[in-house]
Symmetry: C2
Subunit: 450 residues, 2 copies
Amino acid sequence: MSTAPRQLSLNAFIYPSGHHEAAWRHPASTPDRLYDVKYYQEIGRTAEAAKLDAVFFADGPALRVNVKHNAASGLEPITLLTAIATATTHLGLIATASTTYYEPYNLARLFSTLDHISGGRAGWNIVTTATDQAAANFGLDRHPDHEERYARAREFVDAVVALWDSWEDDAIVLDPAAGIYADPERIHRIDFEGEHIRVRGPFNAPRTPQGHPVLVQAGASNEGRAFAGRYAEAIFTAHQRLSDGQTFYRDIKRQAAQFGRSPEHVKILPGLSPFIADTEAGAKQLEREFNELTVAEYGLHQLENLVGTSLRHLPLDEPVPLALFEQAGDVTDNSRSRLQVIAGIVQRERPTVRGLLHRLAGARGHRVFAGTPEQVADTIEEWFTQGAADGFNVMPPYYPGGLEVFAEQVVPILQQRGLFRTEYSGTTLRDHFGLPRPGSQFARRPALAG
Amino acid sequence: MSTAPRQLSLNAFIYPSGHHEAAWRHPASTPDRLYDVKYYQEIGRTAEAAKLDAVFFADGPALRVNVKHNAASGLEPITLLTAIATATTHLGLIATASTTYYEPYNLARLFSTLDHISGGRAGWNIVTTATDQAAANFGLDRHPDHEERYARAREFVDAVVALWDSWEDDAIVLDPAAGIYADPERIHRIDFEGEHIRVRGPFNAPRTPQGHPVLVQAGASNEGRAFAGRYAEAIFTAHQRLSDGQTFYRDIKRQAAQFGRSPEHVKILPGLSPFIADTEAGAKQLEREFNELTVAEYGLHQLENLVGTSLRHLPLDEPVPLALFEQAGDVTDNSRSRLQVIAGIVQRERPTVRGLLHRLAGARGHRVFAGTPEQVADTIEEWFTQGAADGFNVMPPYYPGGLEVFAEQVVPILQQRGLFRTEYSGTTLRDHFGLPRPGSQFARRPALAG
């Protein structure tokens, strides 16, 4: 064993009342607190006390959840993470934001400010957002197609990173006696001219503590994997089986290498939603309790959103038709990845519609695991050591208790096994993930702006 | 005297090292802390301890300040105010954001989240942004003209307010036993279809504690005043003389009445940048100290930005040519208002170029006043009681000390005179400004979305 054994990365994926869709109905959750900032700050403190790498928010600019039957929170995640930043000192802070429905200069500023305010703890989960509900909130009749979204996404990320690089690290001189605040030779226009994006710059803030926020992505299509291989420093993914996780892991590491990057600098973090109890039977009983609180109408609606066709005609206690997943239209990579996972479940297990809805109620296609703290630690260790994961995006079925039990009962086992830190070794998200701090692409180039 | 005498509103307008352009060179400022969130949180706490109504940030999506000679901070203000929100309990939080360079759905979310997180303390200073530097950061060669910007701004504000109203106040049912989280009949699509803006909705978060954030504006052109009369609940303005303030005040209150609004629900808050010392001579000496730290090249550059033409040829010790302000092109209302103020100074006082630069160094055309705490309180009282102001946007020449001296020495005098609160009477910015909480425009309308 080397002196610095490979360490797990663990994020807490925050979801309103928990990742199980019926969590808000269970007495273990507190759905009356979803608009109370202290609720999120307490979750952040729990994650930090357990030395987790980061907390993470999904996001999309539309009301998609059927709020009749589920507790939604559409609070804007960068703002929310700022509030968590002020209640913590080390915890990483990762927000999802869309390259299709934002302007690069605005988004670059929001993440840059979060990185400054938090002392270098920001991460951006880059998504392209493929729903017509979002498109309709931005003056479009339909969402742009897959290829166009990715073409814009590549330009968007290039422009945003260039903006973040616009001030070289030593641009601020701060010499009051001479009257020189900054050196204009070290502040650069970016003059970005793409097919979809044009941004001149320079940016209006200095480089951030991390150089720039960590780039995160969730991609499963060929285009998504190539995008991830090129840009992503961490990847959120969904796999039900070890073998699928291993295949994905190998492919992404290979693609990163093809782009000249070190495979170690792309962290692969599958989702894992653990029901935890003192006995395996108790954990499975807890999962059943939550499943029994689901509303079939809600689950069908969510599945319809995913596959893009009406499912109201399906009898709940008949097997799911195998053909269902052959007709899925243009969807996000995240949705595509989950559709593949669901298709696999249907083919292998031939569940009834109700049975499938229960499977999906846990974490929308992500892996649900019910077991003792020891068993949860075992499966984490297995995926980590068998080439399927560099860590996990932990998706507690209910908040705040589901994170607390993971923090208090699973994390110590992982620490005892030497797989997870007992103290933070650094203060930035890059430190936690073991990622290098990038230099500015403009360093030592002639200045373009005076 | 009535039982509830009319009360002043006082905001602290936060500016990196202070409003005087040479503040960062003066030992009273701390320009090394501009990217330290605690600096802004401490300013917020000082403002709250003095029971001020709010803190306020200007903003624009471009690097415009010549950072060679001045300390800039382009941190994104909504994010920054979120951090201040978590360090305070009552203080209002007002951020500037552009209707020309944002998308309504994204901006509505940021302000809604700030209002939720702060328990009802958010305000939006609506600007249209007329600089080519900003345009170039959003794929445009030139900024849209005045009329087009205002046409978009009207639609933008209508769409954003409709999004904020999208969930009626009682939309959340929260009945876990019945499995009903929200009532879809009380959540509305907005179906906004303008010439510039199309947004379908519904919004993805409930109404905020204030109903919606306070709408603030800074308009001086005819179009800007009409916009203010129609929408603004508070107006930031710039006047050097009482008589100009009175004329503006009467005009805006009249326009608000024409739109069927109560004139009391439009607060008019001129800028005031006070140099404060124990004696008048000491205060004027302090102002001179700051003026002597200015860099003429910087001041000329700022003035060029305002008038839109090169001024490098002007001899510093000759009088300013009167023709200079006849050639100003299309500028923001904020700039227009300041240009009018500057033209007035030039006509009345015939200063040299250097003299004018010193006059402008204080607060970019806003009123600078040097005097004792008693004299500062006197001028505030005069403008407040003589129909020129409902309060002030206080612009300390240097931070943090310039706000501290105002809070510790001027505010108590205003309190003793019964002009300013000694305790907050409410918890929201609307409470402080004495503004009503608006109802949702969709209340009792048939639902458009299921």
